[in-house]
Amino acid sequence: MAARSGINAKPSLWVTAIGSIIVVVFFSFPYALMLLSSLKTREEITKIPPDYLPSIPQFSNYLTVWSSDVVAPAGSLLATVVISLGATLLVLLIATPAAYYVARFRFPGRLVFLFLVLITQMLQPTVLAVGLYQEFSQWRGHLVWGALILINGAFNLSFAVWIMQAFFATVPKEVDEAALIDGAGRLQAMFLVSLPLVWPGIVTAIVFVFVNTWNEFAAAFVLVQDTSLQPLTVSMPRFLGMYVRDWQYLFMVATVAIVPVVILFALIEKRLVGGLTAGAVK
């Protein structure tokens, strides 16, 4: 083949190789440190100056941490899982009918509704934290998880509504109408006919809400006072400042906390931008 030039020129191998190495190192070095630190012993993690690698990787940390009463990550992990699943389920239940309807019908107020939903996505819990505290500070005990489910649900609705309405709009109306003629109700038509056809949009919405809630900090930070009920994002950073120096456990928990969400995010990466910019950039 003749040497190509101009915009079809093959990128130089050296530039590509060096560029790739820089990108890989730059975007993984904190996570490499996290992983290495999670495999050190308590003596190694507090050694001055520190060693780069653990002498013998302590995979047992991943088992012993659960019985460590200082870090005690089980309760926090449960809080994070319950709140994330709850918010995801809530969003799915209430965003699906809304997304279906705005994709199927034009009605006065439709754009106002879409804009309102979009504004909630840009307004984050952080700027309303004091108002949210005033509203929910009496929700004590496990109820506080309920408050966080509502808050994370509300602030992640927008992404779900926008991405799902875009997918519902691709389903030909005739598909629904056939079901309606056969005597199905509108709700049945949505659940039984349209929903199975838009599953990529639903998976995208589920993953996005789940990951965002999993990582949420500000609302959980102001609302959950009881340390045994705090999700991971609030409970873990506390240990860095404490006199207890079982930091290998901290990084072990951090590693466990990021691996699932990174995998989930990688599954939907192609559709993230469209949802986050409400279709403005695809």
Binding site: L33, Y52, F113, Q134, L250, G275
Partner: protein, 323 residues
């Protein structure tokens, strides 16, 4: 995929679907909105209860007096804003530094994020083996909790046990290890770095999406006409990227402005120090001066967010294709 999805309804025009057309035509416009309500009501209720109500509550709180236990005791007038213990007049708060920090924080983080992401997106837009893998790797800081990422930086930058500190000394960049997080100024600049670090993935993805929309035949034609690579980028690619850059910039402005965990975890100096932005100060106020003063400051932040959202709606026109 979302592309074809979003443009589909535009073609169908402003009337309801044919199956309901006859019925819909006879009912009033108000009837159409009422018919939509059951489908939208759960969403509207949640927004009313968890977004609009706390906003109103925050405004009310800003004008009420609270004791140190957070118990309300009557109207405060503007006391929470400019009183002796007001948000903007409390004696030990270094306001000059905090305003500067807030502006520097948003401007520096957003600009450096955009510049880095423009370059990175250009690199990832080339065709070479393994670029899909690279796209996966840059997701790491995006999907990971900002709290966890920041915590690693905090640990790595500790003077005695921090591995990043040892690396900086081993490579000769630093003479001796430094307690970056113990001083508000150096903690602030480390936070700027971390904020850029976690903002790059979303921004790069958005610009990459914009690059997909640059037609190759136009670039080809420009090349035939003798345009250099630089000319092609600045006169063809960059103007076409403007919507993507605008969307990424405005979303980043609001995210960075509202960022709490990075500064909170990295700045280990207690109290109203010179490392705060107005966002982190809200939380310091809430802990020390109570909800009234914290709400007063929140209102200023809230107003700024509204301005950015208005700019987003006006410039990016997100709902354009569903109209």
């Amino acid at each position: 995929m979302a592309n074809t999805a979003a443009t589909a309804p535009a073609a169908s025009g402003p009337t309801p679907v044919p199956g309901r057309a006859t019925k819909a035509r006879t009912t009033s416009r108000r009837g159409e909105t009422l018919a939509a309500l059951p489908w939208l009501a759960p969403t509207l209720l949640l927004i009313a209860g968890v977004v609009i109500y706390p906003t109103i509550l925050m405004f009310w709180t800003a004008f009420r007096k609270y004791n140190s236990y957070g118990i309300e005791s009557g109207p405060a007038g503007l006391g929470n804003f400019i009183g002796p213990a007001g948000a903007f007049t409390f004696p030990t708060v270094p306001w000059a530094a905090i305003w500067t920090n807030t502006v520097v924080w948003v401007v520096v983080v957003v600009i450096l994020t955009l510049v880095t992401s423009l370059g990175l997106a250009q690199f990832l837009n080339r065709e070479f083996r393994g670029r899909k893998l690279l796209r996966m790797i840059i997701i790491l800081p995006w999907a990971s909790s900002v709290v966890m990422t920041t915590t690693v930086f905090n640990y790595g930058l500790q003077r005695d046990v921090g591995l990043f500190n040892r690396m900086l000394v081993d490579t000769g960049i630093l003479q001796t290890a430094r307690g970056f997080t113990k001083d508000p100024t150096s903690a602030f600049w480390v936070a700027v770095f971390v904020a850029i670090y976690v903002s790059i993935p979303f921004t790069t993805y958005t610009i990459l999406a914009g690059l997909q929309g640059v037609p190759r035949d136009i670039l080809e034609a420009a090349h035939m006409d003798g345009a250099s690579a630089g000319q092609r980028y600045w006169q063809i690619v960059f103007p076409l990227l403007r919507p993507a850059i605008a969307a990424a910039a405005l979303i980043n402005i609001i995210n960075v402005f509202n960022s709490l965990p990075i500064l909170k975890i990295l700045d280990e100096t207690p109290g109203f120090n010179t490392g705060h932005t107005t966002t982190t100060l809200i939380f310091a106020y809430k802990a020390v001066l109570g909800p009234g003063v914290a709400s007063a400051l929140s209102i200023v932040n809230f107003a700024f967010c509204l301005v950015v959202i208005a700019a987003y709606l006006a410039i990016v026109k997100p709902a354009n294709e569903v109209q």
